[in-house]
């Protein structure tokens, strides 16, 4: 091979390596950007008057006078639309039965969409579910509903070789010549007047209980549950892990038994997370009966077992990185081994041990599979600190899954899901970031 080709190969090899690192950075960016962008939208968004009314009625928040004034303005514009609807309903009564039936079937979706946009229409009974008691609380959702009102979605099946395509037909054409015809233009023109959009900073997203399975309200029960589970897991795993690390680094004599303990540690680190869940269910709940059914305690214990190997490894590394001279100086001064460990080695290794602990805390907060069978419920209110021994809790990780995959209105509450994902990701990444910074500080200190 000639030299030029070899140089090209050399450079392209470098390029492949750098390329894969760039791909990883891009992947991180591609995953995080939509999560951050849309997640911020759960807190900062253009809210409608419905949102403010809901907050006032359900959480007692907001200035009643302003809300009433805005409500009155909105109702003035809405009244016109309501009159058109009732006018058309009266008009249908007087039609021939065939025409009436035909219009009725076309009118039903319009009425449903109007009710979804503005809340219960006048004359409707008060709905049982909170989700039907208010109209659209977010402006971009209101615009989507407007589109539903204005256009009818149809599918084009004409070409059997390709997938059916959707297309939209304006509804106004179907009602041409009736009293309903002007409604479409009116709603289109006065949407903002009817909804009173206004920039909203909904900080309560993080601190409010959820209403009607997360259709309104915040995610406090989930955040609290995640903290309970993660901190509970740390309470069990951290002391155990640090003590085990002290044993491995200072006391264990290399031999068959120690090597078995070490490989048990790495086996535990490699167990799939869902198997921890199965174990938690079979052992903590079915055998030990730490609680009647799922509970925060059982979940914390399961998570603790999962993060134990990480803590042990990090603590071992931290202890080993303490300069030998420290230990020798302490022993030389006549201190006992245990005294040396407690007063010299552990304090010197503490930042490193804490780094490992922080990373494990993040891992415990983010894991889902171990808590599915042991601690998590989909819907629930925040539990008190006294209930951790007996009751299950909602948790961010589990509820993200649940809202995205199993919720009946999953596509309607994407903003809540994004908000939850952002909360979870930022909790975990902030913990990791602080660990990284702490570690950088340590290595600087060790360099001197």
């Amino acid at each position: 091979m000639n030299l030029g080709t070899r140089k090209i190969l050399d450079n392209s090899f470098t390029a492949v390596g750098m390329g894969s690192i760039v791909v990883m950075a891009l992947a991180l960016l591609v995953v995080l950007t939509p999560i951050v962008y849309n997640g911020v939208g759960a807190v900062f968004f253009t809210g409608t008057i419905e949102h403010r009314t809901m907050l006032y009625k359900e959480y007692g928040r907001g200035d009643s006078k302003t809300i009433e004034a805005q409500s009155a303005t909105a109702d003035r514009y809405r009244g016109e639309a309501y009159r058109m609807l009732s006018g058309f309903e009266a008009e249908m009564e007087g039609m021939t039965p065939e025409a009436s039936r035909e219009y009725r079937s076309k009118y039903a979706p319009v009425r449903a969409a109007m009710s979804s946009l503005l809340g219960p229409l006048p004359g409707d009974p008060q709905p049982m579910l909170t989700r039907f008691q208010y109209g659209q609380t977010r402006w971009e959702k209101a615009e989507e509903k407007l589109h539903d009102i204005l256009y009818e979605k149809k599918w084009d099946y004409s070409d059997p070789t390709v997938m059916a395509k959707e297309f939209y037909v304006p509804r106004a054409e179907a009602f041409a010549g009736t009293k309903l015809a002007p409604l479409f233009g009116y709603v289109d023109k006065h949407l903002a007047d009817m909804m009173q959009p206004q920039f909203t900073f909904y900080w309560g997203f993080f601190t409010d209980r959820s209403l009607d399975a997360h259709i309104f309200g915040g995610i406090w029960p989930e955040i609290q549950g995640t903290f309970f589970l993660a901190i509970g897991a740390m309470l069990f795993a951290f002391p155990l892990g640090v003590i085990a690390a002290v044993y491995f680094t200072e006391y264990a004599k290399e031999g068959f038994f120690t090597s078995i303990l070490r490989s048990a540690n790495s086996t535990l680190a490699g167990v799939p997370s869902i198997v921890f869940g199965l174990f938690g269910l079979a052992f903590f709940i079915n055998t030990m009966k730490v609680s009647e059914s799922k509970s925060v305690l059982a979940g914390s214990l399961t998570l603790a077992i999962m993060i134990l190997p990480t803590i042990i490894r990090a603590a071992e590394e931290a202890i080993l990185s303490v300069p030998k001279t420290y230990k020798e100086a302490s022993l030389g001064l006549g201190s006992t081994k245990w005294n040396t460990i407690a007063t010299v080695i552990l304090p010197a290794a503490l930042p490193g041990i804490i780094t490992g602990g922080i990373i494990s805390l993040g891992r415990a907060a983010g894991e889902t599979a171990p808590i599915i069978f042991t601690a998590a419920v989909s819907v629930g209110s925040a539990i008190g600190i006294a209930d951790v021994f007996s009751s299950p809790t909602p948790a961010l990780s589990w509820n993200i899954y649940n809202l995205a995959s199993e919720h009946e209105m999953a596509s309607e509450i994407r903003h809540v899901q994004y908000g939850m994902v952002l909360s979870l990701v930022s909790i975990v990444l902030l913990l990791n970031l602080s660990a990284i910074l702490l570690r950088a500080k340590i290595s600087q200190k060790l360099k001197g």
Binding site: G17, M24, V31, F248, P272, F279, A369, L424, L429
Partner: protein, 387 residues
């Protein structure tokens, strides 16, 4: 010396230890060390307990239904009367997404590890490492959410063009390289000294046209593909590969760094370029450590639950044809997570125990691959340290 201490009774009691006190100290020391040992063995006890309690709930299934159905049948109807518990399609689904993610993650991971350990200067490495750590830290459910809500609709609506562009971006540089190298090698072999340049040029243009044709034909084929469902094996494989990457990179990088400077310097001294040194000397020397990295990365992908549960489509069948990554699949982990809620938890039903059988299968696989990778690492360390 003793006289002096005796004279100053106040100080002496601190230094001279009575036999009784020494006995107490020894006792305390022994008790303390036993306690430490007990706590350290806690991990081993936990591992034993995990095996025992998963196995205890798994064995009744095999007692009830035997082994053949679980491993050979593809009929998965646990809710039927009587239920069918053929897990072959599910095991195949797990294998499929794991293989797919390894296909993407292994080359990328090794390349990135080489780059981190040998190519990048220290100042750049400082920024690259946190990226990898952050990738490892993102919770799996966030990846799953991304796969379900963003990637799946994207694949479904723009799958063909997306595949085509990926093909172009990935394949074009490699084909270009292959053309240059092939032309060089062939001209060196068949042409005489004075004609080599011309011959190489000729071959390059010839192969170049061929390569562009291949790129174009495959590209249009990919562009025409319509992906029926975005929640499929491809989607999951892509996401899983990024979850396995950090493991592969960090373990492989450790293996590469444990290869000494002498090997590298020897290779440079013989006139090898950096790529040749890395490919022919460093990588073979670190190969067993890299194998361990690959095994650990694969285990990460196999054991992952949330991503596959949310975005694999959860349809229990073997794709047709068997390598079709654009179909929905179902995996072991997702089946355990998804079916446990419905399985009535009263012990005794095959429906409950079959999930533990799957857990046991995962546990055994992870145990053995861990054992193998650990052995490999230990052996490599011994070889490299020259023992």
């Amino acid at each position: 010396m003793t006289e002096e201490v005796k004279n100053d009774g106040q100080r002496s009691s601190a230094f001279v230890v009575s036999p009784q006190k020494r006995k107490m100290q020894k006792l305390a020391k022994n008790a303390g060390e036993t306690l430490l040992l007990g706590i350290a063995s806690f991990v081993a006890i936990v591992v034993l307990f995990i095996f025992y309690f998963v196995a205890v709930d798994a064995i009744p299934y095999f007692q009830l239904r035997g082994f053949t159905e679980f491993f050979t049948s593809t009929g998965w109807y646990p809710a039927g009367e009587p239920g069918e518990f053929g897990a072959l399609a599910i095991i195949y689904g797990s294998a499929m997404v794991t293989f797919g993610s390894a296909l993407l993650a292994v080359p990328m991971g090794i390349a990135a590890a080489v780059c981190l350990s040998d190519i990048l200067p220290f100042s750049v490495r400082q920024y690259a490492k946190p990226i990898i750590e952050m990738l490892a830290a993102i919770p799996s459910v966030a990846f799953g959410f991304f796969a379900l809500v963003i990637l799946a609709p994207l694949l479904q609506s723009n799958g063909g063009p997306l595949l085509m562009w990926t093909w172009w971006v990935l394949a074009a540089p490699f084909l270009l390289l292959a053309v240059i190298v092939a032309a060089d090698l062939l001209s060196a072999r068949f042409a005489r000294e004075e004609n080599r340049r011309k011959m190489a040029l000729l071959l390059q243009s010839l192969f170049g046209i061929l390569a562009v044709l291949v790129l174009y034909v495959v590209g249009t084929k990919l562009n025409a593909i319509e992906i029926i469902t975005g929640t499929n094996a491809l989607n999951v494989s892509i996401i899983l590969s990024f979850m396995a990457l950090p493991t592969i990179v960090s373990v492989a990088e450790d293996a590469l760094q444990s290869v000494g400077r002498e090997l590298r310097e020897g290779s440079y001294a013989l006139g090898a370029t950096r790529a040749e040194t890395l490919l022919k000397t460093v990588l073979p020397a670190a190969s067993s450590g890299i194998l361990a990295a690959v095994i650990l990365g694969i285990m990460r992908a196999l054991g992952e639950t949330m991503v596959v549960w949310m975005a694999s489509g959860n349809s229990s069948h073997i794709p047709d044809p068997w390598f079709n990554y654009l179909e929905a699949v179902r995996t072991l982990t997702a089946t355990i997570a998804g079916d446990m809620g419905e399985a009535d938890q009263v012990t005794g039903s095959a429906r409950y125990h079959v999930l533990f059988a799957m857990g046991l299968l995962l546990l055994v696989i992870s145990f053995f691959s861990n054992l193998v990778s650990e052995r490999i690492v230990v052996r490599q360390r011994k070889i490299l340290s020259g023992q």
